[in-house]
């Protein structure tokens, strides 16, 4: 043992080892140069499967860039991982789909590499509010897809679809609801404000927020499950164990089309519209490929495919799309949506989180 530890390491040995090590490190980049590739982060599960099946192969065929899709967690977990990795100069994914709250947080730390508008000619197809910009006007992210969170019900338990978010407050629904557990992904404050306080402007002041929380506290006896894990609610909704709640319109539609007794309803106050952006990590070295990818995704034809195959709502202007009225209605609604107050989750996130947690757990 001793001899091995004390074996003399000659100068030549060190050089040899160094050379071997260096060439091993260099090898992957040699391989990469032959085949262009891009690591793209999309929400794991249904989203990733749909993209892998319906979108990425066509992109590779059109551009020759191979896509390695990475399953990312929802919420801000992925943002934290990207941020920590970027500090170390690594990018677990080059381009990621980020929700608005995460997008804005990343913008505040300059996590996203600014995108070059000249390399993204198709971005002019987008509805304006789906382009995220830095204060200096540089593009931080480009709308990938948007989706709705709506009022969902089990059709066997509720023969009639509810028409208003006010159903959540109905005393007849005691212990029957499943709602998202966090202030920053349930957007229930906005729902409360729109339903009972005349609009989300009511949340401008702290007093308004506290009033909305007070009103929202009235739903607590109706809530059976405050969920973080989507699968848990989806399964309970399908079985009728928890027959009402808020959930994603696209996934609910998919479940219904596969025969589950569930329905998604746009309440008269509107569904909650959230959206995901394509954003490029500043640690990524694949800027060219990333621009090609994002530009490709902004084409109306691709957005229409996304609506048809994935069930997401398009981020490009309605008149550029060849979606039929029925196809459009299945992924979106003409009822004016409830747009989350993303600004609040930036400026007052700790206040909101504290009051929210005290409200539901207190």
């Amino acid at each position: 043992m001793r001899d091995i530890l004390n074996a003399k390491l000659g100068r030549r040995g060190v050089l040899g080892a160094g050379l071997a090590g260096a060439s091993m490190l260099a090898m992957p980049s040699v391989l990469r140069a032959q085949e262009k590739s891009l690591k793209v982060g999309v929400y794991g599960g249904y989203f990733k499967d749909s993209f892998d099946k319906n979108i990425f192969p066509d992109f590779t065929k059109a551009t020759g860039i191979a896509i390695e899709s990475v399953a990312e967690p929802t919420g801000e977990a992925w943002l934290v991982q990207l941020e920590q990795a970027a500090k170390a100069g690594a990018a677990p994914a080059d381009v990621s789909m980020m929700s608005q709250v995460a997008m804005l947080k990343g913008q505040s730390t300059k996590l996203w590499a600014p995108l070059d508008a000249a390399k993204l000619p198709n971005s002019k197809n987008l509805i304006d509010h789906f382009v995220n910009k830095y204060p200096d006007g540089k593009i931080a992210g480009i709308g990938a897809v948007s989706w709705y969170i709506t009022l969902v019900t089990n059709t066997q338990v509720y023969k009639e679809a509810p028409t208003s978010w006010a159903a959540l407050w109905d005393k007849a629904n005691a212990d029957k609801l499943g709602l998202l557990a966090l202030v920053s992904n349930s957007f229930l404050l906005e729902v409360t404000a729109k339903t009972f306080m005349g609009g989300t402007k009511a949340l401008d002041t702290d007093e308004g927020i506290l009033k909305a929380l007070e009103k929202l506290a009235e739903v607590k006896p109706n809530v059976r499950l405050w969920y973080r894990d989507e699968a848990q609610f989806e399964q309970a909704l399908k079985s009728g164990e928890i027959p009402m709640g808020q959930y994603y319109h696209d996934v609910t539609g998919l479940a219904a089309s596969q025969g589950s007794p569930v329905r998604s309803t746009f309440p008269k106050e509107g569904g909650i519209q959230d959206s995901g952006c394509w954003a490029l990590s500043r640690a990524s070295k694949k800027s060219e490929e990333a621009h090609t990818f994002i530009n490709y995704m902004c084409q109306p034809a691709i957005q229409a495919t996304l609506s048809r195959k994935v069930g997401t709502s398009p981020t490009v202007k309605r008149d550029l799309l060849d979606l039929t009225a029925a196809e459009f209605a299945s992924v979106s609604s003409d009822i004016e949506p409830i747009i989350p107050r993303y600004d609040l989750y930036q400026t007052k996130s700790d206040f909101l989180n504290q009051k929210w947690t005290e409200m539901i757990a207190g």
Partner: protein, 284 residues
């Protein structure tokens, strides 16, 4: 063979590897966590290196006090439940034929291969209204209609006890197997009933093992965050759930770190207290 005390530095060699692992995988991360807990939270961003007490100040409130209190209570309750069920069970197991012992031990060990997620989902199905055990009770005529048993404190307790039970048995088993059977036989000859012999001979003889088991299950249960979430109402969420919320969903690392440090300190203090109390009793 006489064991010589280490003379030179090289004699301490065998210690370097474990010490190194402990440093890399425990001391460094824990130190990082303590450092981060003093950092300045940037709302809407991440954090900047600083030395502030804000994160601890935010934690010192009635609300978080209650959550901490509940977490400790839950962990103690699970530890006690495990030991109360575990001792008679393991005692009977250690007195049963070899073959039966093996079957039981293999079954218990296989529980360890289940992830917390699977255990959580399995119990939430078992406790559900639509597919749960109450349907069986209705069929047997014990209940009028099926009802949901989750979310509730009982559901959280049941699942956590179930999860920690194999560890309890594994710690108690060797001690109970090694326990001299003539002790209980002597007690029986002197006229004690089996139950009395169990409580006056077996339990006191195992005092240290029981204390060790309690502490182990307590620590194990304190870190649980998935089962309270899956099976409990928000008032049954433990501090670990809130730590996860802060770290993962609010990207508020400094506050999450401060809460975690607090939790570690409180649990260390409680363990220390338990060990001290045990020693005091032994000294008497």
């Amino acid at each position: 063979m006489r064991r010589e005390p280490p003379q030179r530095l090289a004699d301490y060699g065998p210690l370097f590897f474990p010490a190194g692992m402990l440093t890399v995988f425990f001391v460094v991360p824990f130190a990082t966590m303590i450092a981060v807990s003093f950092f300045q939270r940037e709302q809407g961003g991440f954090y900047t290196a600083a030395f502030v007490f804000d994160n601890y100040a935010r934690f010192l409130s009635l609300f978080f006090g209650k959550v901490l209190g509940f977490s400790l209570f839950l962990a103690v309750a699970v530890a006690v439940a495990c030991v109360v069920i575990g001792i008679p069970f393991t005692y009977l197991l250690s007195r049963s034929p070899r073959k039966i012992q093996i079957v039981w031990l293999v079954a218990l060990l296989s529980i360890l291969s289940l992830s917390e997620v699977m255990i959580g989902f399995a119990w939430s199905t078992l406790f559900s209204r639509t597919a749960g055990i109450t349907n069986l009770f209705v069929w047997l005529g014990l209940m009028v209609q099926p009802q949901a048993l989750t979310p509730s404190f009982g559901a959280v307790m049941t699942a956590m006890t179930y999860q920690a039970f194999p560890y309890t048995v594994l710690v108690l088993y060797p001690a109970l197997v090694r326990l001299d059977p003539t002790l209980t036989e002597a007690a029986r000859t002197l006229g004690a009933s089996p139950v009395k012999a169990f409580f006056t001979v077996v339990v006191p003889a195992l005092r240290n093992t029981i204390l060790a088991t309690l502490i182990m299950v307590f620590i194990f249960a304190l870190g649980s965050y998935l089962l309270p979430q899956l099976l409990g109402r928000p008032q049954h969420w433990t501090l670990s759930v809130l730590i996860t919320d802060q770290a993962i969903y609010q990207s508020n690392m400094p506050f999450a770190a401060a809460m975690a440090v607090f939790l570690v300190l409180v649990s260390l203090a409680l363990v220390g207290l338990a060990l001290y109390a045990g020693q005091q009793r032994q000294a008497k």
